[in-house]
């Protein structure tokens, strides 16, 4: 199995969650996208909605993100939103 993704979810005033994950599912302006390890570098604008992160420990993190974007580079996934909060 490929090395896990390093994910961080960041809002304007703090880092909301960071850790390792096997998959990130987000909703961009073009539709839903799932990111696994080895994804090509990408920058996408997020549509407001939920971002789901499947952490390596088996937990599932759901965050709400408005006004943000997603960047993938070398298995580092950054989800940046002005307003973001953990749903659970």
């Amino acid at each position: 199995m490929a090395s896990p993704l390093t994910v961080s979810v960041v809002s304007a005033d703090q880092e909301i969650w960071s850790g390792e994950a096997s998959m990130v599912i987000a909703k961009t302006v073009e539709g839903e996208i799932g990111i696994l390890a080895g994804h090509e570098p990408m920058l996408a604008i997020l549509a407001s909605g939920e971002v789901r992160v499947n952490a390596t420990g088996g937990e599932r993190i759901v965050a709400r993100a408005d006004d943000g974007f997603l960047s993938v580079d070398n298995d580092v996934v950054t989800i940046v939103a002005r307003d973001a909060e953990l749903v659970k």
Partner: protein, 298 residues
């Protein structure tokens, strides 16, 4: 009580009252620095992520975006000055204003017109006292900045940036603010915000394949969406830095004021003791003299 002694006593009293105030302000600032610093630290991941993303788009795509390309002729420059609302913070505001003046001087020598955006009551006061114009100003809340103000400032400068010269647009945006280095040191800093100067652009390693970024929906739209966010976050970061620096500067200024008050109190207490002593000596010699005179008169 002699007149001299009364003068000293009132001076001691006034130094003591001043010391109480400066001491309280010192303690308040000291407790707020910590909070302000935490806020700077908390927003750092956000601004770092955005800066990295913006530099990625600017480096790995060849989009000609109005916000990233330098215009052919730069006629007007905007300077955003971040000062504090209140004084009693040492050279905090005046060093920023001095820095802004020298930047304006430099820009003028390059033949550019300078437009000012002011943040903080001190900058507004400085400009209105000299009867100089500013494009826009914001006051209140510089010691605890909120994101909404940053957004307002960002909207105003980006709007001016997008306007044509004839309509009062600007071609460059500079920020002047105090960077919080440590408790004892705050450095005035000048940053050119727009057009972009990517400083954090990580050089791709030579033997690696040039990473091909995929943009969704496309590079231009991504840049369009990113840049206002970038400007906002830079301005917000500047405001937070400036707030932390303000508290640190005020703490230092108030600490030396309290120390000075201590010195004054000590000096005046000695003088007052001296005056009291000489008063007593004089009274004794008067009594002795009087007794002598009565004794010899008999």
């Amino acid at each position: 009580m002699g007149a001299q002694l009364r003068v000293y006593r009132s001076k001691i009293k006034s130094a003591q009252t001043t010391k109480k105030i400066t001491r309280a302000m010192e303690l308040i600032s000291a407790s707020r620095i910590q909070k302000a610093q935490t806020r700077v630290a908390q927003t750092t991941p956000y601004s770092r992520a955005i800066t990295r993303a913006v530099s990625a788009v600017a480096t790995y795509s060849n989009v000609d975006h109005p916000l990233t390309t330098e215009r052919e002729k730069l006629d007007t420059a905007a300077i955003v000055i971040f000062t504090s609302d209140r004084g009693l913070a040492g050279a905090f505001s005046s060093s920023i204003l001095k820095e802004a003046e020298s930047l304006a001087e430099l820009l003028r020598s390059e033949g550019k017109k300078v437009v000012y955006y002011l943040v903080g009551r001190k900058a507004v006061g400085y400009f209105s006292f000299r009867k100089r114009d500013s494009a826009k100003s914001w006051t209140g809340g510089t010691d605890q900045p909120v994101f909404e103000t940053a957004k307002e400032i960002a909207d105003a400068v980006v709007e001016a940036y997008n306007l044509d010269d004839e309509e009062g647009g600007v071609d460059e945006i500079h920020l002047v603010f105090n960077r919080f280095v440590s408790m004892v040191s705050q450095v005035p800093e000048v940053v050119r915000l727009l057009p972009l100067e990517i400083v954090e652009g990580e050089e791709p390693e030579t033997n690696e394949v040039f990473p091909l970024y995929e943009f969704e929906p496309d590079a231009e739209t991504v840049l369009d969406a990113l840049l206002p966010i970038y400007v906002e976050s830079r301005i917000f970061n500047a405001m937070l830095q400036s707030a932390a620096a303000e508290h640190a500067a005020r703490q230092k200024a108030m600490k030396s004021a309290s120390d000075n008050a201590d010195n004054l109190i000590r000096d005046y207490t000695r003088l007052a003791n001296n005056a009291r002593q000489s008063e007593i000596t004089q009274q004794i010699s008067e009594i002795v003299g009087g007794a002598d005179a009565l004794a010899s008169a008999k």
